[in-house]
């Protein structure tokens, strides 16, 4: 009896070891790509992967989100091949990468406008960058101040692991100064995903939130934003982002370790191709060309 138990146990361990070996990443023969990073770019990455797979059915592409920082951290630790990021790498990350012998190769593959959205029942249509700043700093607390109805403003923000959160903070709250000290009002709700911001905005007339242009839907109302009190109010459209007329826009990056080779090179070439850039447009981001 005991002997069979022992045998089973050994067999189990062997099998387990086998699975572990099979699951180890970047097996050259199977041609797989691990992509990780920005939640904003997950859908875009997925669409690229599907189209790429039609041309190269032998390549296995796995895409996961988790935030730009997660992707960059994974690239540094060697657990992914390509990091999707909606922000530039930071000094700290470059240092960590150097310590582990990783050299960032930067590819700007698309542009993104961050849309500021309110509930469709809210009469407010236009806001200036300064007004946005005051709202998200928590200094303007009621829609009445902005000429709207007498309702409290409920702030919706992404969590700190989101590239969108960091970009909005640096670009709107800190007016582009990375080292500023302004922070989101403590009362701002930290939502775990862009989807939850969209949901809460659609259901609650008090809210104001922000998300990547890809999430724009008729269930939320997009606010037209002006750089300052004198400039025109501009909606986040393809043309407005590409011409840099819309004030809250940013590049989207793919990072690799060193110059991309083999299948990773093929994938990035595909991303830059006409087909790849058409997909960018289809997923509601802005193509670079």
């Amino acid at each position: 009896m005991t002997r069979t138990v022992l045998k089973d146990f050994l067999l189990g361990m062997l099998l387990l070891a086998g699975f572990c070996a099979a699951a180890s990443p970047s097996d050259q023969k199977t041609r797989s790509i691990q992509i990780k990073g920005s939640d904003t770019m997950v859908n875009l990455g997925q669409a690229w992967a599907e189209a790429f797979n039609k041309i190269h059915p032998d390549v296995n592409i796995a895409i996961t989100g988790g935030g730009s920082g997660t992707g960059i951290a994974a690239l540094i630790s060697g657990t992914c091949d390509i990091a999707e990021s909606s922000r530039a790498v930071e000094e700290k990350e470059i240092k960590q990468a150097e310590a582990r012998g990783v050299k960032f190769n930067i590819e700007i593959v698309a542009l993104d406008g961050i849309a500021v959205v309110v509930n469709p029942g809210n009469p407010i249509k236009n806001l200036t960058m300064d007004q946005l700043r005051e709202i998200f700093l928590g200094n303007i607390k009621n829609w009445k101040t902005l000429g709207g109805p007498d309702m409290p403003i409920v702030l919706l923000s992404r969590e700190v692991n989101s590239g969108t959160h960091i970009f909005f903070k640096e670009h709107v709250l800190r007016r582009g100064k990375k080292k500023g000290t302004e922070e989101f009002a403590p009362a701002a709700l930290m939502m775990p995903s862009s989807y939850s911001i969209a949901e809460e905005t659609a259901n609650n007339e008090n809210t104001i939130g922000y998300y990547g242009m890809g999430y724009i839907s008729p269930r939320q109302k997009v606010i037209a934003v002006a750089k300052n009190a004198k400039s025109p109010f501009i909606e986040p459209t393809l043309e407005a982002v590409r011409s840099n007329a819309y004030p809250i826009s940013r590049p989207l990056y793919l990072y690799t370790n060193g110059t991309p080779k083999d299948v990773i090179r093929e994938f990035i070439d595909f991303v830059y191709s006409k087909e790849g850039q058409d997909i960018v447009k289809k997923t509601d981001f802005v193509p670079i060309k």
Partner: protein
């Protein structure tokens, strides 16, 4: 042959001993690991400003690592859940154990088991689509993402624990107590709330504490419905951020070796210590109940 059997006996004994001691070793290792990683946060911030700090801006430069709003958020959500789940759970336990007819009792018991099997992310999903909009409109709040929504979700999660352990405690009360009370002319209700409840009290208390432990450590559903704003809460109708949700939401991003990373481990220590205290209290009462 006898020698072989002895060897076998010896091996099995040691193997079982190792399995038995394993959980102790694991707990110790987990705590040591947490302590080792978490203690480094105090190079950047003092214990007082960590526990008592009012602002949580972990990725700013310099970071503000005050977890007071998070501790209070966790305590508030837990307290709310306790107020809802404990009376409901104990009443349900009494009904199932002592009042319900046998057929209904079996149905109820399986329903309680099913309730405990619902994954918390599913409850959170129901919360965000049904409970949150309902609370907002019903209570006319600026937003339905509040501590109250978290408390209600968590109460559902604590109920199965509270009901099944309380029910065991009630069943463990010697039959003679009940028979004696009834023989003395007490009504069923008098027997219940004057006699049986006293016999079952330590077990019921332990059930409640275990329920609280479950609630305190819960993450997913809470993160989805409480709004996660790191403010010091003044009422249940306000968004809060809990300790668990903070770790879950931020661990993916925190750069290894940064103050933020260490702070999240230090939050882990705080959680561990509080959960440990809750479970210890529950254990003490369970043992007290057994001795009687």
């Amino acid at each position: 042959m006898a020698k072989l059997r002895k060897l076998k006996e010896f091996l099995i004994e040691k193997l079982i001993f190792a399995s038995g001691i394993a959980s102790v070793v694991f707990v110790a290792l987990i705590f040591i690991f947490l302590l080792r990683e978490g203690i480094s946060v105090f190079k950047d911030t003092s214990l007082g400003s960590f526990i008592g700090g009012r602002f949580w801006y972990p990725i700013s430069d310099p970071p503000k690592l005050g977890i007071l709003p998070l501790i209070l958020g966790s305590l508030l959500v837990t307290a709310g859940a306790v107020v809802i789940a404990v009376p409901l759970g104990i009443s349900a336990a009494f009904y199932i154990a002592d009042v319900a007819p046998a057929k209904l009792r079996n149905i109820l018991k399986s329903c309680v088991e099913i309730l405990s099997a619902v994954p918390s992310v599913v409850l959170g999903f129901l919360g965000i689509t049904i409970l949150v909009p309902f609370l907002k409109h019903f209570l006319k709040l600026p937003t339905g993402l509040t501590a109250l929504a978290g408390s209600i979700m968590l109460a559902f999660m604590a109920l199965p624990t509270i009901i099944s352990i309380s029910e065991d405690a009630i069943n463990a009360v010697p039959r003679e107590y009940k028979e004696g009370a009834l023989a003395l002319g007490a009504t069923h209700w008098q027997t219940l709330h004057r006699v049986i409840i006293h016999g079952a009290m330590p077990g019921i208390f332990a059930a409640s504490m275990l329920g609280i432990g479950r609630v305190f450590g819960e993450t997913m559903a809470v993160m989805m419905v409480t709004g996660n704003a790191a403010v010091i809460p003044t009422s249940l109708l306000q968004p809060v951020r809990t300790l668990t949700a903070t770790i879950a939401a931020e661990m993916g991003e925190a750069a290894k070796g940064s103050p933020h990373y260490f702070a999240l481990f230090a939050i882990g220590i705080v959680l561990f210590v509080i959960s440990f205290a809750i479970n210890l209290t529950a254990d003490l009462f369970l043992n007290k109940g057994r001795k009687r």
